[in-house]
């Protein structure tokens, strides 16, 4: 049932460029990017029970990977950029993860926050290498070998690049779906539910957490690369801890207990923020207020809400 709904949604997203104005379509791009990044984040948070306040680190690695590879090293193939950035992200995740998965709850959060800010500090201060607070430009990559030179930036973004990202989201979501329903996924959930019991049932808790952490880094980097290509720039704010906080916000908004929650959250947040920014300069205040409402009243997020409504609908209709 849910899969059917998801496929419908996917089809709807795919045809958006034909329906919406280019401005709105360029809003969907970050939503796609965040959807991917958050699918990875939720593997760690929703399924494994580890709250990272440094996921933005991997998003930033993806962004700067795209920037450095395209503008400094002249690499234009988006596939290569994605592969290398994601690879770098996983390479960074492994040592951090080896350290971090020994801890849970708040200590995991603080440690990941520290690593994220470490990277931010590096990006900010080492001007010669990283462009400091301006960051590094991201040049338009080629998609599956095609450069589309005749298209101007916006047309390319809402055209070939858009469809490419939708396809990427579909593929990565499918992979994640298989992952969470696999024995590996079951073990992750077991470690979340009761770590000690999981160990007594033979689950290698730390090892699996490390794998989940690395996978989340992979997805985060891909999301970051898409974000950077969209804006044309990779800047240090990608790695700031409040960006990590926003990622958590989006996930909770969409509902972390649900596979599709992160995607719902990414889309909702982007559009919510866009609306709020248009309405008032104090949009952060309202965003914060909404987060409080969410935490206090709707901890299962939007997808939790729809699940409840769905259940109520089914109960009230005669069978």
């Amino acid at each position: 049932m849910r899969i059917a709904a998801a496929l419908v949604a996917l089809a709807a997203v795919a045809v958006l460029p034909n329906v919406l104005s280019p401005y709105h379509v360029t809003l969907v791009l970050p939503a796609l990017a965040y959807s991917i990044a958050l699918l990875g984040f939720n593997l760690l948070f929703g399924y494994t029970g580890l709250l990272s306040f440094g996921h933005a680190l991997f998003v930033a690695i993806g962004g700067y990977g795209a920037a450095v590879l395209s503008s400094k090293l002249g690499l234009r193939s988006f596939e290569a950029i994605l592969a290398l950035s994601a690879g770098a992200s996983v390479a960074v995740a492994i040592p951090i993860g080896l350290l971090a998965v020994r801890y849970v709850k708040i200590f995991f959060g603080i440690l990941t926050l520290a690593f994220g800010m470490l990277f931010h500090s590096f990006l900010f201060k080492f001007y010669d290498l990283t462009g400091g607070d301006t960051g590094i430009r991201v040049l338009r990559p080629s998609l599956l070998g095609r450069a589309y030179e005749d298209l101007d930036k916006t047309t390319w973004l809402v055209g070939p690049f858009y469809y490419y990202c939708v396809a990427l989201l579909a593929i990565l979501a499918f992979v994640m779906w298989r992952l969470v329903h696999s024995p590996f996924g079951l073990h992750l959930v077991a470690t979340r539910e009761n770590r000690r019991k999981a160990e007594y049932l033979g689950v290698r808790v730390r090892f699996f957490r490390l794998i989940a952490f690395s996978i989340s880094a992979f997805y985060g980097a891909i999301g970051g690369a898409i974000l950077a290509v969209n804006t044309g720039q990779a800047d240090p704010e990608l790695a700031y801890w409040t960006h990590s906080g926003e990622l958590v916000f989006m996930t909770v908004l969409g509902g972390f207990g649900n596979f599709f929650g992160p995607v719902v959250g990414a889309f909702s947040f982007i559009f919510l923020k866009d609306q709020l920014v248009g309405l008032t300069q104090y949009w952060r205040f309202w965003l914060g207020a909404i987060l409080i409402l969410l935490v206090v009243l709707f901890p299962r997020g939007l997808s939790g809400l729809t699940e409840r409504m769905w259940a109520r609908l089914h109960r009230s209709t005669p069978s």
Partner: protein, 259 residues
């Protein structure tokens, strides 16, 4: 024949306090050994040593001839020993089937399979159903663990240890919290299931002396960190000194044909 589980002169000190001192114990295949004794006598420490949770400060602990000092629960399960606890541990959100599947999968080579759906795995599913049936839980396979009754949770806890297909299973007060009427039924189930499942020995920690008398092939009494006695039930309960120290004045009901 080398013993399945052995403790050789083990001692465990915490600072100045000797929780265990010079304890030697061998458990062979086919035995059901009960460990009894008052609280604080060192039963828990001994059990933690035998299951590789803590290393001994002196002496050795062996399982199937290999040293298992402090190897931890994960390696223990891999080597073939399972432990079920007195306090019920469950995975609240996981169903009965999923809980059992965790154990079944971790023992197979499938743990690191990323792509196949657990729900579709016929081998896993049939083993899960098998174990559930032994404990009467087959009707609750789809129920989330947090919705089970306390007794059912207890059964699930023991069942999940069984689902590991262990060679040795250590049951830590399995009938605590179970009503008196159900105790014998549970024990009988567990012992029969163990036999059928190919479990080679059972180590039992119990306070209920009736159960101990009925099911043990051997009883080990611990007192003040030392072994007080290590005898078959008949000899154990016919020794008034031991009975007084461990049981109190009245010896338990002995099964017919014993003594």
């Amino acid at each position: 024949m080398s013993a399945l589980v052995e403790a050789i002169g083990v001692g465990k000190r915490y600072g100045d306090f000797a929780a265990l001192d010079g304890v030697s114990l061998a458990i062979e295949a086919g035995e059901l050994v009960s460990i009894v004794g008052p609280n604080g006598a060192g039963k828990t420490t001994l059990v933690n040593l035998l299951t590789g949770l803590v290393p001994p400060t002196s002496g050795q602990v062996r399982f199937k001839g290999e040293d298992i000092a402090g190897i931890g629960p994960v390696m223990l399960a891999k080597r073939g020993m399972a432990r079920a606890f007195q306090l019920v541990h469950i995975f609240p959100e996981l169903t009965v089937a999923q809980t059992l599947a965790v154990a079944v999968v971790s023992q197979s080579s499938k743990a690191l399979r990323f792509f196949t759906a657990v729900a579709d795995d016929a081998a896993v599913n049939s083993r899960v159903r098998e174990v559930a049936a032994i404990f009467g839980l087959e009707g609750k396979l789809g129920t989330p663990s947090r919705l089970l009754s306390q007794g059912e949770k207890k059964l699930l806890d023991i069942a999940s240890a069984f689902a590991l297909s262990p060679e040795v299973i250590l049951l830590d007060e399995p009938t605590s919290g179970v009503s008196s009427a159900d105790k014998h039924g549970l024990m009988k189930n567990v012992v029969d299931a163990a036999r059928r499942a190919g479990v080679r020995s059972i180590i039992l920690v119990e306070h209920d002396m009736d159960l101990v008398a009925e099911y043990s092939t051997r009883i080990v009494a611990i007192q003040a960190g030392r072994i007080l006695a290590d005898r078959a039930p008949a000899e154990f309960f016919s020794d008034p000194g031991i009975v007084a120290a461990i049981v109190g004045k009245r010896p338990p009901r002995m099964p017919p044909g014993a003594s």
